[in-house]
Amino acid sequence: MLTRKNYSLAGLCLATVGLHLLTVLADAPFYLTQLTMAAYYGLVIIGLGVLMGYAGQISIGHAGFFAIGGYVSAALTTRNLAPFEASWPVRLLDGLGLLVPGQDVYGAHLLTVSPWAACGCAVTAAAVIALIIGVPVLKLKGHYLAMATLGFGTIIYRILLASPYFGEADGISETPGFTLLPALGSWGPLVISGDVEHRVANFYLAWGVLIVGAWLLLNLIGSRVGRALRSLHSSEEAAEASGVDTARFKLQVFILSAVYAAVAGALLTHFNGGIGPSEASVMKSVRYVALVAVGGMTNLWGALIMGVGLTFLSLRGVFGAFDDAVFGLILIFVMLFAPDGILSLRLKPLLRRMFLGGPS
């Protein structure tokens, strides 16, 4: 089990390099941009996959957490704090070295939060909100939990649309690049940004984050806590009787998946140089759920592969204007014919059932 997991992860590393080589061979380096974005969306999907597939708690509000991560980080790194320079919170942040001075396009003095601190705030905000939402909401089950998380997602979407601070319908643009590592010797700095010069580095960074994220989740699933999560999925009563604090574990995994979404949101926002309210829309949340289902609820690898693959196709515009419709259709077909995910599909019994009827 341990070795199989490591082999699979090594395979994913090789696949990453292979994808890069493919884009070089095909002389299509622009594919790297969508592959980078798809990897970040993949991070959301595997986080949601553990929540839904293993712990059995649905969330139709994960775009909300993604948006919290992206928006908080974008707002803090772009909104000018100079007018508040004299106030104590800003002085405190400055004292801690978390602010960066700059100039806007008109040459005026600009003071913003550094990307590191902003990302930290964004992820912390998502975790705290997940905690506050999760305590009451996770008492619900099934359809009721789905509706409550749907409500949460809608609220976040509407707040973002209505707040001038978050740019209303325009969202936030001009988000600065995020310098992860300064220049070292002959190596240039590692910057999360959509600039062409950073394209290859960002591709490897995003896939690296995805691989590490998958590694952590695979470890978790195989651990004592993972067993507890899977047990409460099936029977909360029996899990409780075995001493599993079901409320606490559900809350922890909910927060964990919110953190995954927020990390992806924050990094992708710096990569894209901005974020818009459509990232928080219900349709996005439904898409994440659909992608987890397509990959197979209890199959993290399936969710990862199908999630990244379909997102990449979607970002390339393969589905055209029917994008959302395609994901809706995929969801229906998966539920009908492959409830355990596309990768678990056995074609022969399926075809027999489709054309001859009767049980497979």
Binding site: L220, S223, R224, S231, H233, S234, A238, A239
Partner: protein, 263 residues
């Protein structure tokens, strides 16, 4: 916490326990004690409140009134997982195994209270968790061997035969190394050979030092292995005595066999 259990302190003591569901008085002023190291049975006709009583003891339901003392500590109002942590394990009348998990994994969940690796230790696969994980696996396999189903360890638990599922559930309960084991109709749906096997097993569990409280319909099982029997009828305690005396009790015969036959 002192590890020494005073022999005079009962393992479990119920005092004036009531449970009302709206107008229905499901459990009415029930008091009894379970001596450490004994096998005690709760019997009664359908709807007598036996399973409700179990749910009250295990913390699945809150009591309406009364106290439940487990190893000298009041546990009414505690959550089920807290009660489990104190050393109480149970099985269910309608078996509740975990879907998508092997028999071994189900039993390993039972080791939850005996292990401590947390969220982050699990995520980072810290070396400290490896030894614990090996110990969990080894003890769980041991228990499957005790149930004589070690060869089925890798089989998905919910796909096993009925009797084998019962055995997995029993192993899961024992995996927490409980002081008190609650068995909710352990022989329901079993044939007479399997029932005899369950009887032998329950006695073996008692001999391991585990106190057993069971609810059961099968009179032969109850009369054979119990040290004491509590009879419930319409939520109230009708009698409490040794099996031999219960069999002679006119009241008990009346509720079980009907008034005419008893006369």
């Amino acid at each position: 916490m002192s590890g020494v259990q005073d022999l005079n302190t009962p393992m479990l003591a119920l005092q004036g326990v009531h449970k009302r569901f709206g107008g229905l008085h499901a459990v009415n002023d029930v008091s009894f004690q379970v001596a450490a190291g004994s096998i005690k049975a709760v019997i009664g006709p359908n709807g007598a409140g036996k399973t409700t009583l179990f749910n009250l003891i295990a913390g699945n339901l809150p009591v309406s009134a009364g106290t439940i003392v487990f190893q000298g500590q009041e546990i009414q109002g505690k959550k089920t997982h807290q009660v489990a942590r104190l050393g109480m394990a149970r099985t269910f009348q309608n078996i509740k195994l975990f879907h998508g998990m092997t028999a071994l994994e189900c039993v390993m969940v039972g080791r939850h209270v005996q292990s401590r690796s947390g969220f982050f230790a699990g995520m980072f696969n810290l070396p400290s968790t490896w030894k614990e994980e090996r110990a969990i696996r080894a003890r769980s396999l041991e228990l499957l061997e005790l149930m004589q189903i070690a060869d089925l360890a890798g089989v998905e638990a919910t796909s096993l035969a009925f009797g084998q599922q019962r055995a997995v559930e029993m192993a899961r309960a024992l995996a927490s190394e409980p002081k008190l084991l609650l068995l909710d109709e352990p022989a329901a749906g079993l044939n007479i050979y399997e029932t005899a096997e369950v009887a032998r097993l329950i006695c073996a569990i008692r001999d391991m030092g585990v106190t057993v409280l069971l609810v059961e319909h099968d009179m032969s099982l109850v009369m054979d292995i119990s040290d004491e029997i509590v009879v419930l009828s319409f939520g109230s305690k009708l009698a409490e005595d040794t099996p031999a005396n219960i069999q002679k009790d006119a009241e008990v015969i009346k509720i079980y066999l009907g008034e005419d036959d008893a006369g």
